[in-house]
């Protein structure tokens, strides 16, 4: 594949490129195009962080009361809590200046879970998922056998974080979806905004697990490596 043009870079960064596989093949070899993709994704995130505006609770309550009368407080509070949690993970709450790269993983975790096509290879079989990454990443990594554990593999994709390609695997536990990130350089994993995370180094790679489950669940999963 030749260099990506402006539109292809935009569509790739937005997850709208039809032939993403061919583009990824090219991005692996072409630093110029890969940089352009990262820049596009950065701008996208920066716009999101800068432009997100949240109504005050009082505004929401006022409009709701005018529309639907006395509130079913319980259900609304629950919905609001979920919304606030998800959005809390996605936005920087007006503190763009203090946004550290540490939160990128929490952002990515939340964004991937919220997206319509969260993974590019959908399989519960690590013998399918692992080879899929070959040629898409400049490194290879280990996925443990999850059969017989409370965890199950759901799929994988390549993401960009901290300016480098990062392997992403989605792992299910009960109704929860956990994220595994694997990269060649350190991925800061502090300040996860309410998500639990566990990270470790192995064979020169950094592994980070992120999820909205008790940290002990992530520790249990980590023990499988």
């Amino acid at each position: 594949m030749t260099h990506l043009n402006r539109e292809e870079i935009q569509r790739y960064a937005d997850g709208e490129l039809d032939d993403a596989a061919a583009a990824e093949q090219h991005l692996r070899d072409c630093a110029g195009c890969a940089n352009a993709v990262v820049a596009e994704m950065q701008l996208r995130r920066a716009v999101r962080d800068a432009a997100r505006m949240m109504p005050a609770d009082a505004v929401r309550a006022r409009v709701r009361r005018r529309l639907f009368g006395s509130p079913n407080t319980w259900a609304w509070a629950a919905a609001a809590a979920v919304t606030a949690f998800v959005i809390g993970a996605l936005l920087s709450a007006g503190t763009v200046g203090t946004l550290t790269s540490a939160r990128e993983l929490a952002d990515l975790h939340a964004t991937i879970l919220a997206s319509a096509n969260p993974v590019d290879v959908i399989s519960t079989d690590r013998h399918t998922v692992k080879p899929w990454f070959e040629g898409k990443l400049p490194f290879s990594f280990n996925l443990p056998e999850l059969a017989g554990t409370p965890f199950r593999l759901l799929g994988g994709r390549v993401v960009y974080a901290h300016g480098q390609p990062v392997a992403y695997a989605m792992i299910g536990k009960g109704g929860h979806k956990l994220s595994l990130f694997v990269a060649q350089t350190a991925l800061p994993a502090r300040g996860m905004r309410g998500f639990a995370s566990v990270s470790w180094r192995s064979s020169g790679l950094t592994y980070v697990l992120v999820g909205d489950v008790p940290r002990s669940d992530l520790e249990q999963l980590r023990q499988l490596w």
Partner: protein, 164 residues
């Protein structure tokens, strides 16, 4: 499972409000606009077909309500420099990394965008909508979504570059 209008619509409140805030540029107007949107949607809910995109439908009502409101009736800025920008888009892209710390400059750049660009950028980057969904919300083809988004980001980048 059939969900009530309230169950479906109220979780969209923060999104609709944020969008209304960017359209109107003012908190009280935004609140009124969102309330009016909910009232219209409630009245029209019978005509909403299951299986179509509810979120896009709500945003479409909000936008149409805004465009027929007093502040929405201000004349739209003409998009007369499209040809020049098209030419610039043909070339190999240069890479400009955005300084994420500069939220205030970014907000000013978004504010300065003509409405057709601003709304596409917000629905894509803030609301995380797919191009198809944006097209449904704005009543424009996906190709137009793509090109407007490109121009919106180009202008934002240029505005930030100009600040350096």
């Amino acid at each position: 499972m059939t969900m009530s209008f309230e169950d479906l619509a109220m979780p969209l409140f923060p999104s609709l409000y944020g969008y209304a805030r960017w359209l109107t540029g003012e908190a009280h107007e935004a609140e009124d606009l969102v309330q009016e949107t909910y009232l219209k949607a409630l009245r029209g809910f019978g005509s909403f077909r299951d299986g179509t995109n509810f979120r896009a439908w709500m945003f479409r009502i909000l936008r149409n309500t805004f465009l027929t409101s007093r502040s929405g009736l201000r004349p739209m800025e003409p998009l007369d420099d499209e040809a020049a920008e098209e030419i610039a888009e043909k070339g190999t892209p240069e890479t400009h990394f955005v300084n994420r710390a500069n939220g205030e400059a970014l907000r000013r750049a978004i504010e300065a965008l003509p409405l057709p660009f601003r709304e596409v950028l917000l629905l894509s980057d803030v609301e995380n909508m797919r191009y198809k969904e944006i097209g449904e919300a704005l009543g424009i083809p996906v190709g137009t979504v793509t090109s407007r988004l490109m121009r919106a980001r180009r202008r934002v980048r240029a505005a930030l570059e100009g600040m350096r």
